[in-house]
Amino acid sequence: MNTLRLLVPRIISRRASTLSHNNNATSQIEAPVVSDKLIKTLELEVRGNEPAVIKSFCKFAVTAGNHFGLETKSWSLKKPVHERYTVLKSVHIYKKHRVQYETRTYYAFLQYHKLTGSTADTLLEYVERNLPEGVALKATKVEVQEMPEHLH
């Protein structure tokens, strides 16, 4: 367990480390060691009204993930979700005559596997900043944690 814990990358908070560096001669202040988070999967759900834009975005996100050295995959729903609503054509009466409006929402999904917390933050920041207009993104993180001490 301990050897594993050593393997987990650690971020020493910069402010604390500089503090300890300055006061090294007078007093020993131990820098708090913050372990990086471990994120098993980061799943992005992309939805929008233009399939071509979503396809291009997925291609970009997969390329970015590969450059970061991550296990990346993407897939999309074959059929869009049609949301229709039917209203009367006229303002008041004539029930037989109606108009139908519909919105088509196209879905695509992306998965990155085995990231550390800092990698996930960097990647998400990069990907979200390059999100095109009219596209919504939902990022789901599955973080893994050790069993707390009091539950052993």
Partner: protein, 322 residues
């Protein structure tokens, strides 16, 4: 009398006045001819009604920049950020739009279709690679020892699932982002049978028997951090509560048991009395105990009855006489 004399005096003066005006006008013949040609009614009292309009100077239209671009240019610096399509900057013969049958789609100039759709011209493969290389210094690698799912499961048994949302809304704070899901395998808590039974009763439908997983979803607090703390508090409380033994729990008798356990029942005592030794020493006792517990737990059906019959025959060594 006085009035008349005055009128007489006035008449010659008027005629003289007229003559003077006429002679003054005659002195400048050019203006007179002009006025005769066209007399404009000057209502607003503008001094010079005949103003010449300033001619608009048209700037020279240069040929599109795309024509002069070298082939080996750095496209990332030509198109550095997201921007709507501009035909003179993009050196590609793109065509887009609907026309009559047989005609080609309209070209890139004056084409609104190309400007409507968001483009990815700022995210070409070399640009993505360059930006990722620059961002890599903020990343840390995944620990190599945790290479497969079993090791992750063993060392980091708790899964915390949360979502972030990014879309064009008036606020950046989506209320759905507060929801936290905590998942773990029940086996990772290392509870004994009694505690496990109590834990399952406390957890109720949040336990999935198929994959031995407990799922706790918290969304009652307004913030993600608060919901996470609450979920971990719930796990701790459940754990300690299931380990606690209340005085009334000690009073549970054989009649209150939810499953039949052969070890605690009369059947074991009976065969021990019959053979006169401990049940572990009796041959085929294990099979018999299993058959009895199946019979009691699953209920009476053809399969359990035949199993029970065979087990009894084996135990009492009646196989040959049959």
């Amino acid at each position: 009398m006085m009035n008349l004399s005055r009128n007489i005096e006035r008449v010659p003066f008027r005629s003289i006045e007229k003559q003077l005006v006429a002679s003054y006008c005659n002195s400048s013949p050019q203006t007179q001819t002009k006025q005769e040609e066209f007399r404009a009614l000057n209502i607003r009292n503008v001094k010079d009604p005949f103003q010449t309009r300033r001619r608009l100077q048209k700037t020279a239209v240069f040929p599109p920049r795309a024509d002069q671009m070298p082939v080996d240019q750095d496209w990332g610096s030509v198109w550095p950020g997201p921007r709507s399509f501009h035909p003179a900057t993009v050196p590609l013969p793109v065509r887009q739009g609907f026309t009559e049958k047989g005609a080609p789609p309209p070209n890139k100039f004056n084409n609104a279709e190309l400007m409507k759709i968001p483009n990815f011209l700022h995210l070409t493969p070399p640009v993505i690679k360059r930006q990722c290389e620059a961002l890599k210094k903020f990343c840390t690698p995944w620990p190599k020892a945790l290479d497969n799912e079993d090791k992750i499961q063993k060392n980091f048994p708790i899964e915390v699932i949360s979502s972030d949302y990014c879309y064009s809304s008036p606020t950046i704070r989506d209320p759905m982002a507060r929801i936290i899901t905590v998942k773990f395998k029940l086996a990772s808590l290392k509870l004994d049978d009694r505690a496990r039974d109590k834990f399952l009763r406390l957890v109720g439908p949040r336990y999935n028997e198929e994959n031995d997983t407990v799922t706790i979803v918290t969304d009652r607090c307004p913030l993600k951090k608060q919901n996470y703390d609450y979920a971990m508090y719930l796990v701790t409380a459940l754990f300690h509560e299931s380990k606690k033994v209340e005085p009334w729990e000690e009073m549970k008798s054989e009649a209150d048991m939810e499953i039949y356990c052969w070890e605690n029942n009369a059947s074991k005592k009976n065969i021990e009395a019959l053979f006169g030794c401990k049940s572990e020493e009796i041959p085929n006792a294990a099979e018999y105990s299993e058959a009895v517990s199946h019979y009691m737990n699953e209920g009476e059906n053809d399969y359990t009855i035949s199993k029970y019959g065979e087990a009894v025959k084996k135990l009492l060594k009646l196989q040959g006489t049959n």
